[in-house]
């Protein structure tokens, strides 16, 4: 079989395009970080109900993204949901320790995310600290139930 360098070049470019495409899908579309993770610090918060919150959900403050949810598990001590978040390290020591965390919904049917609101305490949150003041997710069924039982009175 005679070799054909134009043909080999074409196939090489084709396979390279596939690999580059996969890299694009990994980095740009599914948001994988490469190598060293960005500088972040960890905060945890316990919620009575997380609704539809999932790992990788964003953590925002005033609507601006400052971190993401990395882990959600059931706290065996209190039987509520323990949400671990990674926040951009530029806010390490800048958030007061009475910061509140609420689970919010983007739009009416959008996905759920964590919204932080700073308080006025002079003490600051550091890596590994726990946010105590939390607000659980809005569950539509519970709202309707409350509404119906109020109507019945």
């Amino acid at each position: 079989m005679k070799r054909n360098s134009v043909l080999e070049l074409g196939v090489g470019l084709f396979m390279l395009a596939g690999i580059l495409g996969l890299v694009f899908l990994g980095l740009r579309v599914s948001g994988l970080g490469v190598g060293v993770p960005q500088n972040t610090f960890t905060l945890t918060a316990n919620f009575a109900n997380i609704g539809g919150l999932r790992p990788q959900a964003k953590v925002t403050m005033s609507g601006v993204r400052i971190g993401k949810v990395t882990d959600i598990e059931l706290d065996p001590k209190w039987f509520d949901a323990k949400v671990t978040m990674q926040i951009d390290s530029q806010f390490d020591g800048k958030l007061s320790d009475d910061t509140t965390a609420a689970i919010l919904t983007a739009g009416l049917l959008g996905e759920q995310y964590v919204g932080l609101t700073v308080g006025g305490s002079p003490k600051m949150l550091h890596d590994g600290d726990v946010i105590h003041d939390t607000q659980q997710a809005l569950v539509l069924e519970q709202l309707i139930q409350q509404f119906v039982s109020n109507m019945a009175k």
Binding site: N4, G10, V11, F14, G21, L25, V29, K68, G107
Partner: protein, 260 residues
């Protein structure tokens, strides 16, 4: 009456024998020892099967992404959720549309050509002459084509998904005015690399195997007449498309269906 039962039994036996031949054929040709010459044959087929299909995949990927964004936008804006456009476009492309549509196009573009090529080789007795001079046609003709199909369909799928997401960006962000940042960040929040992207790749690997297998086997197993070639080419496209759509449901149910 007896004749009908006999015909039914004959039909069943024929189908079973065809399946058996197809299975043996696959095993015999896939496990050929790799050689330097086999590699060049494979590169030649990669060009024919993969590189030549890039144009159709680019164009259809672009338009499917654009249509998805347009349709998705008109639906989502009704709920005030047009920010979720990126997520919708990316998830439907990566999980479903890219593997399936690329496989269907591949069956039509490359599969039919493979069947016709091998079929004509059989009709003009090139395959028999190869055996006469001691060259194994499974190894020389079939194996490079099978391997080229397995490798190129996943690559075509990736290209399809990337172009489609870019087309969705073109329509959604540049034309309809969805905010650029939320297009990408919503996408990154919801698309999981292993769960979505790699599962889509597994799908396209399976489709690549099935489509090329059907195409090459139909070419190798046809009745060596001009009518037989035309029938086999039609059968390739029909069987491959049906197999892709059916397998897609099974794979989706296994991957995303929570049957655990």
């Amino acid at each position: 009456m007896i004749d009908r039962i006999a015909a039914l039994g004959r039909g069943t036996l024929d189908v079973l024998m065809a399946i058996g031949r197809a299975g043996l054929f696959l095993v015999q040709s896939v496990f050929c020892l790799p050689s330097r010459e086999g590699f060049y044959l494979w590169v030649r087929q990669m060009h024919f099967v993969g590189v030549m299909s890039v144009a159709i995949v680019l164009v259809s990927g672009l338009f499917i992404g654009m249509v998805l964004a347009l349709q998705g936008y008109t639906i989502l804006v009704g709920f005030g959720a047009d920010e979720a456009l990126g997520q919708m476009v990316a998830l439907s492309l990566v999980r479903e549309l890219a593997p399936v549509v690329a496989a269907l196009l591949f069956a039509g573009r490359a599969g039919s050509a493979l069947t016709a090529e091998i079929g004509l080789m059989k009709a003009t007795e090139q395959l028999t002459s190869m055996e006469m001079i001691g060259v194994d046609p499974l190894r020389r003709i079939v194996a490079p084509r099978l391997w080229a199909g397995f490798v190129s369909l996943p690559i075509l799928t990736v290209i399809f998904a990337v172009v489609g997401i870019w087309g969705g960006h073109l329509v959604g962000v540049d034309w309809l005015g969805v905010y650029d940042g939320s297009y990408w960040s919503n996408m990154q929040d919801s698309v999981d690399f292993v769960g979505d992207v790699l599962n889509g790749m597994v799908k396209s690997l399976v489709f690549g195997l099935v489509v090329t297998w059907i195409a090459v086997f139909q070419g190798y197993d046809l009745v060596p007449t001009s009518e037989g070639i035309s029938r086999a080419t039609t059968r390739t496209v029909v069987y491959a498309s049906l197999a892709v759509l059916g397998l897609d449901f099974v794979l989706t149910a296994l991957m995303f269906g929570d049957f655990g």
